[in-house]
Every structure is written in structure tokens, then in C-alpha cells.
Amino acid sequence: MSRFAQLWRTTTVRLTAVFIVLFVVFSILLLGFIAYQSSIQIQQQQTASIDREVELLQRIDQRQGIRGIIFAVSRLASQPGPGIYYLGDNAGLQIAGNVQGFPDNVLTTEGVFSFNYDRGSGVDDTSAAEQGFAVVRSLVLESGLRLIVGRDVVERRGFTAIVFQGFLLAVAGILVFSVVAGVVTARRVLKRIDTINATSAKIMSGNLSERIPVTRRNDEFDVLATSLNAMLDRIEGLMQGLKEVTDNVAHDLKTPLTRLRNKAESALRDGGGGEAQREALETTLAESDKLIRTFNALLMIARAEAGAPSGAFADVDVSTIAEDVAELYEPAAEEAGMTLEATIAPGVHLRANRELIGQALVNLVENALKYYEPAEGKTGRITVAVRADKGRVLIEVGDNGPGIPPEDRDRVVERFVRLEKSRTEPGSGLGLSLVAAVARLHKGELRIEDNAPGLRAVIDLPAG
């Protein structure tokens, strides 16, 4: 029963019902009109033939007198058929005819009348005691006799009955067809929806990799299923990302926390006097500063990933930021035995978050500094470049250091993916992740390219 109720609630079944009702109403109107027009036509034909007979009988009455008219009416009345004839004197006494019991007004006035009559007294004895319907014309002849000529219109009613029967048959057929079609379609719709429901139930119970099956019909359900599947892909991606974040937070914060705890513990155990304890406390402080830094980097990445409020976006001069960063790091590079060259196109503007763009550039330059490996006959070189190119703003930091092997280049840009080597290096190791997050926040991307030799990081952002 609930299945039926469910079926009834489907749009298909409801629409079918509405269409059935509409069809029946219009059929009734149409057939009614046809029947009405046809009956008028038949009536007109009957009236015309009645008039012709009346004319004929009037002529007979004029030319042949009472004897002739009595004879003619008697002969007509004896013929089988729908004809109704009556001839009487002015006292109301029937002289000839095939029907009795006319209403009084028919016998006393002239004109056209229609009325029910008792057919048993009529010509057709086989249908005794049947009610007939008559259309008659009544008039007084020159000879003073009353003549009534008419037709039994049972034929007309037969026609209406045929039309009505046809109508009933058609409605019945259409009803059966629509109900079957409606139910079948609705069941198919319900089945498709049931598969979607089943899939979402599976997903809700935890299996995020489940997808709604897509048929080859490419109908509206397939379009819906495809877009739902795309949404599920996105959600699964986000969940995956969240899991990675959690794993990384666990690794990035737990490891230094463990180190911190170990240091404090061993300092307590050793008890090696004031100087040793002081040293232990200092390393503890340094470790906790590192932790804070990692935590800040993670927070900043999370904020950039979530999309910073647009209020922090303003028109910024990227060239100036790059010049500031280059100038800030130039002495440090020199100290490390490297050169820092800046080729910065002037006046490159962008709607951006100034601090985040600055932080991203700082991270890239610091990476170049950090991974520089001094070698014989080689001078370390860092290049900082900013240029505008075909609606893009390109911020590049290149070096001639060890670089990143091609197979790892895509991976380091991915969210929270880091090379094992970089995890053990000093620093939070979240530098590139933050740069990539900043690039994504500005609707651009971070590309890691081969600087032949070395590494080139390109922040590619859409201008404007």
C-alpha cells in the first residue's frame, strides 16, 4: 500500500492523472458538439421531408377532395417506417392514420410539435408498449380536415447512443493505456531514485568511494547522477585532504613535541648543575619557538586553503614586494656565498594579499638559500623575477642548486606533500605547501620547473 502511495506521489503518475482528466473533458466537449450538430442536421432533414409530404397531401386535398386525401393518408400510414400520419375531422375524430393519443394542443392548433408518445399504437407492432419520440406538423386542410404528418425520431437517438458508446470505449481505452504507461514510467523513475538513495545510504554509512551508476541513455537522471558524482569526487578529495592535514599535523607537531619532552626529561635526570640545565632550557625554548613557527605555518596554509576573506585583498605592487624581498635577502645570500639577482619589471600590479605574496616569495628565497650546496668552481646564484605576460603575473625564484628530480616536482606542489628529505631538514618544511596554497588562493598555481641546473619555482597568477 505504501508502494502505491509512493507511486501516487511521483510526478509521472500525477501528470498522467491530470492528462486523463483533461482528455476526458475535451472528449466530452468535442463529441457533444458533434452529436449536437448531427442531430440538428437530422432534424432539419426530417422537417424538410415532413414539409414535402405536407405539400403533396395539400395538393391531393385540393384536387381530389376528401376521398382522395383519406385514401392517400391511409396508404402512407400503412407503409412501414418512421412516418406518423393522422387525418381527422374538426370534431377530433380520427379518419385515418397510424398513431393515436396525440396531445390535445397538437389536435387543436397548427404548428410543429415534438412529444413522447406510446409507440404501441403505432405502425411497428414488434416494439409494443415502447415510448417513442415524435416530431410532427399539424395543420387544417382546405377541406376542413386536420392533417398531422411526422416522424418517429428514434433513429436520431440511436445515433447519439452510438456516439456515446464510441466515446465510452475511447475513454476506457485511454484510461487503461495512460494508467499502464504512467505506472510503468513512474516505476522506472522510482527505480532510478531508489538506486540514488541506495548509493547515498552507502556513502552516509562511510563508504565515500561509492558512486551513482550512470546509464548510457544520457537522460536527465544521468545528468543528475553525473553532477552528483562530481560533487562526491570533490567531497572525497576534501576528505582526503583533511586526512592528510591531520596526518601531517600529527607528524609535524608530535615529533618536535616529543623532542621537547625528551630534552626536558633528560635535563631533569642529568641534574648536571646550573650550566647544563641552562643549556637544556635554552634548547627547549628554541624547540618551542620552532613548534610555534610550524603551527603558524599550518594555520596560515589552512586559512589560505579555506580562502581568506576578500577584505584582505587589495591592489598591491608586486614589483615593490619582490624588490623588498630581494633587498632583504641580498646580504644573507652574500653571506652564504651566493649572489642574488633581481630582474623585476616595474609597476606590476595585482589584486592580492600583500603579506601572503611577500611570505610566499620569502619562502621560495629561503628554500633556495637552505638547499644550496657549496661546490668547487660553482657560485650559488638566486634569481628573483617578476613579469607580466598576457594577462598573467609571473613571480619566479630560480637557483642553481640541487633542484628536485622530475618525478617529484608535481608532488611537492600538491597539498601537504613533502619529500622525505625535506622533513628532516631544519625549518617547518611547509614552505612550498604554503606557497602553493597562496597561489591557489589567488586563483593561480605554483609550478616547479627545471632551471638547468637547479630549481625554478614559478608562481603563475591571473592579473587583475
Binding site: L299, A308, G311, L328, A332, N353
Partner: protein
């Protein structure tokens, strides 16, 4: 220096009060927003240290109300929210400086000492002098013992900031914020390299150095 600390975390507050006392400052403490506001508007302090998230009344609204009453006491806002946007809203509300938790006490101390100085009359000076070192802000000339020292524009601004706060500790992040106007977090010793270059220019060849490194805190210029 007379300081008002408005901070609801008792442990953090008592640690700060003790540390400030050791540094020679008198600190009053309010543990909720309403009390803090009442104390700040009724008494005269050199510096206010206001936590952003407080019971009964938040820190930013305290600062806004004080500024609306033309109270110009320097305010350092403390907050667990360390993002750039939060810093901007904090400064816009009328705060003079913003420090994200967790912070090093040396950083806090350096900042409030510089802040308190701000309300003193030397603010508008056109030239600074520390010993025989002079800096003229208008002609942008730096001399030591009458000898001109040529500085790059950034070095000039570094020295200007140090001399304006002569005798006070200036931390690396303060230098980055005030000389470069960035709030990011450099992991290498970028500031130290700039400072050693500056030191080379002003202290080299002189018996008594003026630019001092304060271990674990930052730098200071003094005789």
C-alpha cells in the same frame, strides 16, 4: 613605567606581572573587560596591554571607547589570532601595536618600552644623536666624529629606527615590521646580516661600539 594589563588568563597574567616587575615596571591587573575599561579610563597609565578576547567586554571595544574619549595612552593588543587581517583590525580599532600569542617576553618588553616612549616629546625630533654619532632626518646625513658615513636608504631607515629608540631593545621582528613593513616570519638570519653590515659602517675603526647585540632579544644602540 606604569602599566595596565587587561588579561583574563590568571597564570599568564601573574607571569607577566612578575616579569614586568623584574624589569622595573609597576603593573596593575584587570581580569575582565569592564573592570579593565573602568581602570584605563579613570587612571593614568604609560602603556595598556590588552588581550583581545576577554570576558564581559572584548579588547577591541575597550580600545575603541578609549580612543573615542580622546585617551591617547599607547595600547599593545595581545591576541591568539595572529593573522594579518586580525592585526589590521586591531590597529584600526586604535591599537598602537599588535603581538600574537604565544610571544617571547623579551619581545613584549621591547615593544612596550618603545610604545611608552612614543608619547614622550622627542617624537618629532629632526635629528638624533648617540654619542658622537648623529643622524639628520632632513638632509639624510649620518656622521660620526664629524666624518660622513654613506648609507644605503634601507640602512639609513634601520639606523633611524634604532636611534629613535636609543637605549631601548629593538627586536628583529620589530625591525622587520617598522623598517620593511612586513609581518612575515623569516627563518634565516636576514636581519642579522643587515645589522652586521650597518655595524661595519658605523662602528668600524672606532674603539667604543654603539650598536650592541642583546642576546636572546635583539639590538640596541647606546653610548
Amino acid at each position: 613605567m606604569k602599566i595596565l594589563l587587561i588579561e583574563d588568563d590568571r597564570e599568564a597574567a601573574s607571569y607577566l606581572i612578575q616579569a614586568l616587575d623584574e624589569a622595573g615596571h609597576v603593573t596593575h591587573h584587570a581580569s575582565d573587560g569592564e573592570t579593565g575599561y573602568a581602570m584605563a579610563s579613570s587612571m593614568d597609565y604609560d602603556v595598556l596591554i590588552v588581550d583581545r578576547m576577554l570576558p564581559r567586554r572584548d579588547g577591541l571595544s575597550i580600545v575603541e571607547s578609549l580612543r573615542a574619549e580622546a585617551n591617547k595612552t599607547p595600547v599593545l593588543i595581545l591576541s591568539a589570532l595572529g593573522e594579518v587581517d586580525d592585526r589590521v583590525t586591531g590597529l584600526r580599532a586604535g591599537g598602537d601595536d599588535y603581538l600574537a600569542k604565544p610571544y617571547a617576553f623579551t619581545e613584549l618588553l621591547a615593544r612596550i618600552e618603545v610604545l611608552a616612549r612614543r608619547s614622550s616629546p622627542t617624537e618629532a625630533a629632526t635629528s638624533y644623536a648617540v654619542g658622537e654619532l648623529t643622524l639628520d632626518r632632513l638632509s639624510r646625513k649620518v656622521e660620526r666624529e664629524g666624518e660622513a658615513i654613506l648609507l644605503q636608504p634601507r640602512e639609513f631607515r634601520l639606523l633611524e629606527y634604532l636611534m629613535k629608540n636609543a637605549g631601548k631593545v629593538v627586536t628583529r621582528t620589530m625591525l622587520l615590521e617598522n623598517v620593511w613593513d612586513y609581518h612575515f616570519d623569516p627563518q634565516t638570519n636576514v636581519i642579522d646580516v643587515h645589522m652586521s653590515r650597518l655595524r661595519g659602517k658605523i662602528d668600524k675603526g672606532h674603539a667604543s661600539p654603539l650598536l650592541h647585540t642583546i642576546r636572546g632579544a635583539g639590538y640596541m644602540i647606546r653610548e
